[in-house]
Symmetry: C2
Subunit: 435 residues, 2 copies
């Protein structure tokens, strides 16, 4: 009896042409992170459950893949931040601070599968961890990295939106809503999705007075340019230390960003940005593709005071952002806006139409020595099948070797897109392939 | 109460300097596979247990990480071959054959942890899958890929050893040992580890007559050059069809390899190579670093008639090899023979010794635009701490910007290895960094 080969729902599995595009996108993100000096780490996918769940709870705990093996209570990582916290504590003495690390890897959440939601997905994270303290300039630098990375992926029309949690928390403190701040932040965070009316409704459900709700809405709706917003925030004259630190930090970050020559069109202060996670304590980021707002934020993160408070008394402040690559890729793929040119591994397929494979191998090896990825077709099939293979793999050139070419020590190079073909000596063919 | 941050035994976790070396090795393998036109795929780490275990049994089944989530019986992949079989069947109609794929990813085996054994480790696999048939030339091509890949990793003194299962199976058939062939293959496979005397002992334990044992030992001990061995095999005049097909195939593979200009010193026929896995049916490969024989085979594989017989009636013959990267890296690291130059992500650390970060950021960005990975030190620390950071991260250069440099629009570039430093205009500094 045969077993039906099948893949679990919620697990992305791509055909090679799509996988190549996916890998190219991942490679661009990686290269961009490395351009800024972030160091790679690679933590296990399986961890002790108590280590992974030290601070989790609620939804996370429900979604986790957790199981026993022997006497061990194990779990699959659900993000790359908890493993980073573990890593920094475990190797604290061997690391140099600020510790700038990137990690690109799969994480697991056993959610109910639905369109656009994955149970296994790649996160591409960068974080900068300070030992005791970490300059606010790093918060601005994060914007520079986001800016460069999204440009590298191939987009120009995007906006990095920043805010500072201290502003919202300062406001809540003013309104005597400290004990509801986590819930209120989560509700505000959804304004883009659910709209203002629903935000008001949700706040009412929390038994917040209308007057306070109005103040919150008025606050997050403060309009104007980045400079005007900062000016209006100052003019509120809140006598709240946290709030005023928030203004100061936001202003410092904005000033740095101006120095970095990030275009105004790619950056703004948005007071509605709250982020759902409760560990952010300062700057928060979201990034939107303006032509594809339906994707939601494609690169988000923030500043936190204590990376690893569940493991250590050491103060380890940090700032980081994450790109949810699997979801991003799947959405862009759906929208059909991925670069179609990036679908082949090989630049050329070498095809012999004689029985003599020596020369074909020799040609293939010489092309490879020039640094060009080269496939060779070895099966005894009709020439049509060989071209079909190149066509389906989107290999841009076929190098044909027949009796004539063997005699002349040449190849006939066919451009698969234009159909043009030409007999060339190998060096000239290699020059074209290098183009 | 704090949770102790800890990593499970048997799971490799590296410090950044080591991780960089590891990633470089992985990148070289990947680039080499792509050079030959292999296509990337990326299958889930979690699969349905019945799919993953369709053909497993014995040790594999005991070592597997298996668990329930909701109503699903799940398991973590223990190799990349079973997922390949699943993938090829699932997407059969969308793939082009021969399907040449590579996959580099983590696999899981819950073994008792011991030195050099990992529960989570990377495999770097290539396979070529035919639809119905697959030319024997692919078996030779596999040697070419192994040869190039091991060279790329940085070794010259290695030997690819090949054999053909049909020879051993033909011999067993001659000796009327067909029903014990799997066990005998496994025993012979261990000869390198346990020695000839123990092989004889194990064969005796299987109740094989001394005469037959002698014939087996005589056979696997056939000596000489590759050509002499082939000659001696032919002179045995076994009238066994399987055996004679084996000789033919081995000869074809050897002839191709000669055409490929793989040096004689990097290749040999070795009749003791059996491979433990029972699905190989033809050519088998092992690869040894001659200066580090204690590592065992670092790249192994073989030809199989049916990749996916547990899922489909389609005949899908293939040939593939695998590098166990985690184990290889860990052994090479232990032996201290990894390239020490490959330990940094950044080529240069930009350090400002004034309060003016604008120019430092401007310099860093200009260096990055030249394609050079560049870190910048932003914390308000003493200059000594900044140099220590560069030193610990093995960053080869530091670009210092003080008042003098700000005024002159220059940087002082310090070579961290020689200690040499020089004030340069930025373009000249970039030229040196590009070197």
């Amino acid at each position: 009896m045969k077993i039906e080969p099948r893949t679990l729902p919620g697990f992305m599995e791509l055909l090679p042409n799509e996988q190549i595009k996916f890998n190219n996108m991942m490679e661009k993100i990686k290269k961009s992170y490395e351009k800024f000096g972030f160091l790679p780490i690679d933590t296990p996918i399986i961890e002790m459950a108590d280590v992974l769940l030290a601070k989790a709870g609620g939804e996370t705990e429900k979604q986790i893949y957790r199981f026993n093996k022997g006497e061990n209570d194990l779990a699959l990582r659900f993000d790359l931040t908890v493993p980073l916290a573990k890593y920094v504590c475990e190797y604290y003495n061997d690391l140099s601070f600020p510790f700038k690390r990137y990690q690109i890897g799969k994480v697991y959440r056993g959610e109910r599968p639905q369109k656009g939601r994955y149970r296994e997905f790649y996160q591409c994270d960068i974080d900068i961890i300070g030992d005791g303290e970490l300059s606010i300039i790093n918060d601005a630098q994060m914007c520079l990295v986001i800016y460069n990375t999204i440009k590298e992926i191939g987009f120009d029309n995007f906006t990095i939106k920043i805010n500072n949690r201290k502003l919202l928390n300062g406001l809540f403190s003013q309104l005597d809503l400290n004990n509801k701040s986590v819930e209120v932040l989560r509700i505000i965070d959804k304004i883009e999705k659910i709209g203002k009316e629903n935000v008001i409704k949700c706040l009412k459900d929390l038994n917040i007075e209308d007057k306070k709700i109005n103040e919150i809405i008025e606050f997050i709706e403060i309009k104007g340019t980045t400079d005007e917003k900062l000016e209006k925030l100052k003019n509120l004259n809140f006598e709240d230390e946290l709030f005023n630190t928030g203004i100061e930090e936001l202003e410092q970050v904005v000033n740095c960003i101006k120095i970095f020559d990030i275009p105004n069109s790619n950056f703004m202060v948005d007071l509605t940005i709250a982020r759902g996670l409760d560990y952010y304590t300062g700057t928060v980021y979201e990034t939107f593709l303006n032509d594809y707002r339906e994707l939601g934020s494609i690169c988000s993160g923030g500043r936190y005071d204590n990376l690893a408070e569940f493991y250590t008394d050491k103060k380890l402040p940090g700032v980081g952002v994450s790109i949810g690559l699997t979801r991003l890729f799947s959405k862009l793929s759906e929208l059909n806006i991925l670069n179609e040119k990036e679908q082949a591994i090989s630049k050329v397929l070498v095809v012999s139409i004689t029985d003599n494979i020596n020369i074909a191998f020799d040609v293939a090896n010489k092309i490879r020595e020039a640094g060009i990825n080269t496939d060779i077709y070895l099966e005894n099939k009709k020439i049509k099948a060989k071209f079909k293979y190149a066509d389906r793999l989107k290999i841009p050139y076929v190098a044909i070797i027949g009796e004539e070419e063997e005699k002349n020590r040449t190849v006939t190079l066919k451009n698969m897109e234009t159909g043009e073909q030409k007999e060339l000596n190998l060096d000239d063919a290699i020059d074209i392939l290098k183009n």
